[in-house]
């Protein structure tokens, strides 16, 4: 196995491991507002997240910046809660600041925080040759994220269909559109879990 592929595998496993839910929850929060037809926009947002965490990962691993891990561990659930809150409160993104383009920007900024999460660990382990492992790890993370998003879209489609059936059967159109109901439900669940982490990891 080549070094690049090996570290790509490591990144893929890391992001898709359901036992470590923080990145998966963040991706779910990011994807919660989209339908399958929005896949291009969602891919941009996820790629912006990858770019963000690649930047911090590279800076931290090479020693250009040193980040306090306790603060970073606290900030990771903060980014998840903030994303979920944005899902809950912004109904019309076309009327929001920068239209729909602001989401990739904040995904990139939040990616900076997530990248710092495992930077300290990688820096300790890879004290010498880092370029290929780091690049491979990031490629693996990106592929893993796209797989998580694809699975989320499949689940969301099924959930939307089920909600649509329930709403139609209830003859209550005022209950709202299935996408909006699903967005609210996913965001509230994600926010609930991340809020707990936020309290537990409070560093001061």
């Amino acid at each position: 196995m080549s070094e690049l592929f090996a570290f790509g595998t490591l990144g893929f496993r890391h992001i898709t491991d359901p036992r470590g839910a923080d990145h998966i929850l963040f991706l779910l929060a990011l994807a919660a507002i989209y339908r399958f037809k929005d896949w291009r926009e969602c891919t941009w947002v996820v790629t912006a997240f990858t770019l963000g965490h690649s930047v911090t990962l590279a800076l931290a691993v090479t020693g250009a910046v040193v980040l306090p891990s306790r603060v970073i561990e606290f900030l990771i659930p903060v980014t998840i809660v903030a994303t979920a809150l944005e899902n809950l409160f912004v109904r019309d993104r076309s009327a929001a600041l920068w239209g729909r383009r602001y989401r990739p920007v904040f995904a990139g900024v939040f990616g900076l925080v997530h990248g710092a999460g495992f930077a300290n660990y990688l820096r300790s382990l890879f004290v010498d040759r880092i370029a290929v492992p780091l690049f491979g790890f990031n490629v693996g993370l990106e592929v893993g994220q796209l797989v998580v998003i694809a699975l989320a879209f499949l689940s969301f489609a099924a959930i939307d269909r089920a909600i649509g059936v329930v709403v139609s059967a209830s003859r209550r159109p005022d209950l709202g559109r299935p996408v909006r109901i699903r967005t609210l439900a996913v965001s509230v669940v994600v926010m609930s879990v991340a809020s707990r982490w936020m309290l537990e990891r409070y560093p001061w």
Partner: protein, 168 residues
């Protein structure tokens, strides 16, 4: 409307229950070791294993360190016993080669464990099994970078394939 509120209440209760069940253990660390496998000038294979002290100490001593307390280096005899159980090198004939603990040092929170297999003189047909910390973490991944006979390769060992030796 009453039914909708009821469903909302049930949903809120479920959400709270789910949130409360989440623990700090759900943080997302990478459980990895990095090993460099080379041969000495006389052909003896040498492995230098980099492993985080907290996990390694807990695995070797079978005691989880107290959070915040300083973690001492585990004793050589305990380390030799542990790596003897978890790092396996076999020669071309399939015979298991005894490993010798050749050194151990610490840099910050990392331990560097140097192992040698003096009974092996040729790496042709040799195999390696690396099960370090599989007893501690289900998602442990052990990376081995080998540079033997001018050939470089990277091996990944996971708990899933823990019993399969890999050709070096």
């Amino acid at each position: 409307m009453v039914a909708a509120r009821r469903w909302a209440a049930v949903g809120a209760i479920l959400v709270l229950a789910f949130g409360v069940r989440a623990t700090v253990a759900d943080a997302h660390p990478l459980h990895t070791t990095l090993t460099e496998l080379t041969t000495l000038p006389d052909g003896t294979p040498q492995l230098v294993v980099r492993v985080f002290l907290d996990d390694f100490s807990a695995a070797v001593t079978r005691r989880v360190p107290t959070p915040g307390a300083p973690i001492p280096m585990p004793a050589d005899t305990a380390v030799a016993r542990y790596v003897g159980e978890t790092v396996l090198v076999s020669d071309g004939a399939g015979r298991r080669a005894p490993l010798v603990l050749a050194g151990m040092r610490r840099t910050d929170d990392l331990v560097w464990v140097t192992l040698r297999a003096p009974s092996v003189r040729s790496m042709t047909g040799a195999h390696l099994t690396m099960r370090v910390l599989f007893d501690r973490w289900d998602d442990q991944v052990n990376i081995v970078q080998s540079a033997v006979g001018g050939r470089r390769q990277t091996l990944l060992f996971t708990k899933h394939d823990a019993s399969s030796p890999k050709p070096i």
